[in-house]
Amino acid sequence: MRTLPDQEIVVVGGGLVGAAVAWGLARKGLAPLVLDGEDLSHRASRANFALVWVQGKGVGAPHYARWTIAAARRWPSFAADLLETSGIDVGLRQRGGFTFALAGSEMAMWTEEVGCVAEALGEDAPDHAVLDHAETARMVPAIGRDVVGAIYSPLDGDVNSLRLFRALHVGMLNLGAAYRPHSDVTEIVPKAGGFLLTGAWGEVLAGRVVLAAGNGNTRLAPMVGLSAPTLQSKGQILVTEKCAPFFPYTSTTLRQTDEGGVMIGDSQEADTSSIATDQDISSVLASRAVRTFPQLAAVNVLRSWSGFRVKTPDGLPIYECSSTHPGACLVMCHSGVTLAPNHAELVADAIVSRDTTLAGGLFPGGRFHVPQD
C-alpha cells in the first residue's frame, strides 16, 4: 500500500512559486497535492524584499522585461482574487519605485540600464524618469544630500510578502488543493501512468508533476529529463522598528512596509553557503540607508535576516515541460513575488490545458546546456 492515494497532479515545493501554481491549478478545478519540505528548510519565500519590481529588468532580454511588465499589470486584479479566495489583503501598493544613486557612477549605470530596456521595448516600454537631486527631492523631500539622483518608474510597487505567502496557501486550500509538509521528495521515478515520488515520508503516484522546489529543483529536474542549474546568491535584509509613514513609494534598497517597519536591503553575496547574517554587510546596508534618508540615523534596527535566492545562471526564470517525460514541468524564478500573477494565471492555465509550451517557450532550461565534445 502506498502512503497516499494516487494523485492526478502533484506540485513539489510549497514556496511562493509552488503555492502560486497550485492556487492557479485549483482555481481551474484541479485538486493538486503540494508536497513541501521541512519547517526550517531554506525558503526564499520567507526572506525576500517583497518588491513588485519592473524597473531595469530585462537588460539584453526583452522577453523577460515583457514577462515582468505583464505580471506587474496583472497584480491589481490578482490581489483582488487573492483577497476573495483567502480573505487576506496582501497590501499591494503600486505607487512607483525609485533607485537612489549615491554616486555619479551608479546614476550612469542605472540610467544606461533603463535606457537599454526602453530602447529594446519601444512602445511597450514602461514609463521611467531619470531625476537629478532636486527633482528627486521634490517627490521625496526626506532624501539626504548624498543622493545624486534617482530613476523613478510608476509601475513599481510592493506587497506584504508574508501575507502574500499566507494568502496563496489559504487560498489554494480553500480552492481544493491539498498541502503536505515534511514531505521532501528525494526520488522521482517515471512509471506507467505517471511518476512515483518518494521520500522518507513514503510515496505517492502522480499522473503529472510540477517541479517548483526552488533551489531543490536542481537535484530533481534531471530525474524527469529537465535541467535547473542555479548559482549561489545570498541576500541580507535589515528591519527597523515601526515608524510613522515617511516614504510613500518604494525603492530597491529601502521600503517602508504597510505597518511602518523599514526594510533595508538587500545585499548580493555569491561566495558563501552559510545562512548566517554578516555584520559587515549589515553596516554597509545601514550606512547606505542613512545616507539616503538621514532621519533614519535615530531609528533602531530590530532584526536582520538572510536568504538564498533561486537564481539561474542568467537570472531569468525557467519554465519548461519535459519532452522526454511528458507530464513533468519545471517552474522556477528569481522574482517570485513580482511574477506570482503570471505563475498563478498564465503558467497554471497552460498546465491545466496540457499545453506543453509554458510562457511562450521563451524560458527553457536547455539554454544553459554547453555542447560537450
Binding site: 515601526k242 515608524c243 532621519q295 540615523a297 535615530a298 531609528v299
Partner: protein, 100 residues
C-alpha cells in the same frame, strides 16, 4: 495590580505623562510604572490595542515608552533616575527628532 514586597531604601522622583511619582531608586522604568498601577504604557502601532510591560527582560518590546525625549525605549531595560521624564506612546515613532 502589583504590591511592593519590601519598602524601598531610597526614592527618586520621575515625571510620567506630567505626573510626579516617587519610586524605588533601584527600579527599572517598567517596574516603577507597574508599581504605580500603570499597566498600559502605549498603544500598539498596527491595531491601536493597549500594551504594557510583559517579559521584563528585553525580549518582547511591549514596554516601549519615550524617556527624556527618546522614543521607543524599552522601559524594562532602563533604570529610573531622579528627574527622568517618561511619556506613554500612541502610534508609531516619528523619524524626525527625538532620536539618539
Amino acid at each position: 495590580m502589583f504590591r511592593k514586597i519590601e519598602n524601598p531604601k531610597d526614592l527618586v522622583t520621575i515625571v510620567v505623562d506630567g505626573r510626579e511619582l516617587e519610586v524605588d531608586a533601584t527600579a527599572s522604568v517598567a517596574a516603577a510604572l507597574l508599581g504605580a498601577g500603570m499597566a498600559t504604557v502605549r498603544r500598539s502601532v498596527v491595531t491601536d490595542q493597549p500594551r504594557g510591560p510583559y517579559c521584563l527582560m528585553g525580549i518582547c518590546f511591549e514596554c516601549l515608552v519615550t524617556i527624556d525625549g527618546v522614543q521607543n525605549r524599552q522601559a524594562c531595560m532602563v533604570p529610573v533616575r531622579d528627574g527622568m521624564t517618561i511619556s506613554s506612546q500612541r502610534g508609531a515613532r516619528t523619524t524626525q527628532g527625538g532620536g539618539r
